[in-house]
Symmetry: C2
Subunit: 226 residues, 2 copies
């Protein structure tokens, strides 16, 4: 385990009190006969969510709850985590079963992302919340601030509108499709149509506005402009 411990010290400036935790965090479920990292990943995911939530909360004083959520998603999603994990070189320290090893598990994004979350969870157990926050900030580095700065904090409807205007296309048409539920527990379903693209998406929400934003989000995804 000395090699992995040395790697962690060098890349993330952290040394475990209890090195067994690092071993477990690096152990994929395919490895036979030893505690794997799934439970630590569960814990680490929640630690990461809070650290990133706090960060975007602090850095974007004017962002709405919806904007905060979108920004957080970008930072904690598996593809971002896998990038961070790959940059750190976590792959060569993973403990995998024979099959996973042969089939390139050391480079598989989901395995890298999970192991990194597990390390965050392990550090949380080893050194508490402050220690985990520190290592997460070190792992993400500039990514944390760059994203807050460059993130498109506008809401999906505005982004869709601007996208279409930039291409001299007609604005989307939002139409109420369905309202269900009793007063104050209503659920709205709205469609978003862009005739020129022959594209229709729908969105649901507890207000008409939320449903439209959902439909616009789906449309941005549909036209590849997330």
């Amino acid at each position: 385990m000395d090699k992995a411990a040395a790697w962690l010290k060098q890349t993330l400036a952290y040394a475990f009190e209890n090195e067994q935790l690092l071993r477990q965090a690096l152990t994929h479920r395919s490895a036979p006969g030893q505690p794997n990292n799934e439970r630590l990943e569960f814990l680490g995911d929640a630690v990461l969510q809070l650290v990133v939530s706090e960060l975007v909360f602090e850095e974007t004083q004017n962002a709405s709850e919806g904007q905060l959520s979108r920004l957080r998603s970008t930072l904690v999603k598996d593809t971002t985590l896998a990038e961070v994990a790959a940059d750190l070189g976590i792959g060569e320290h993973l403990i995998l079963g024979t099959g996973e090893k042969k089939s390139g598990g050391h480079r598989r994004s989901s395995i890298l992302a999970d192991a990194l979350e597990a390390i965050f969870g392990a550090v949380y157990i080893d050194a508490g919340f402050a220690g985990a926050r520190e290592i997460i900030k070190t792992a993400y580095g500039e990514r944390l601030h760059e994203l807050s700065e460059t993130a498109d904090l506008r809401d999906p409807k505005s982004r869709l509108q601007e996208y279409l205007q930039g291409r001299k296309m007609a604005l989307p048409d939002y139409a109420m499709k369905n309202i269900s539920g009793k007063a104050h527990k209503q659920s709205f379903e709205v469609s978003c149509t862009i005739p020129e693209l022959d594209a229709v998406t729908t969105g649901k929400g507890s207000t008409r506005r939320d449903a439209e934003q959902e439909a616009a989000t789906a449309m941005l995804a549909r036209i590849g402009h997330e």
Copy 2:
């Protein structure tokens, strides 16, 4: 604000350094012209997730990641939060707009749940993670431990099987419906059929096992045995 501050001190044994945070946490977005609690709720939700994650992690040493997730969901879902909030009597301290006030917003579950999460977020800012953890444990009280003790930690397939056996019914039939994606990124879709109930559900997952568990979860919901 003295009344709300006194209430918080009495029910949750917490006094804010910065009382403005308490005021904001209790302010629904319907209230005109003042900072509302939506951003604090965003933060508080993440604080609550971590506190509950840690608790179920510690209390259930043998639970799998899936079991931990289910247990956490039960504790942090809106209906549970609203119960906790109502027990604390948060309703009479909410700051609402006129319309919400008239239509009974003080008793609406979603508003109660959101305000409680916002208080958790506000305490996190006011007193850090340790302070927030403390107030969350106080707010939930015995609920935290009771649920860990009584929660049905078995996986959905096992629970469905036992349910059917208890009623002398035939076991469910799981069938592969679809496999898509390349090797190691495959997605499986499985159906779960209970002929005697004329009920079919489907589930998707990155492994056959996960897809079957999803389908079983859907079936448990279908037959009202969640």
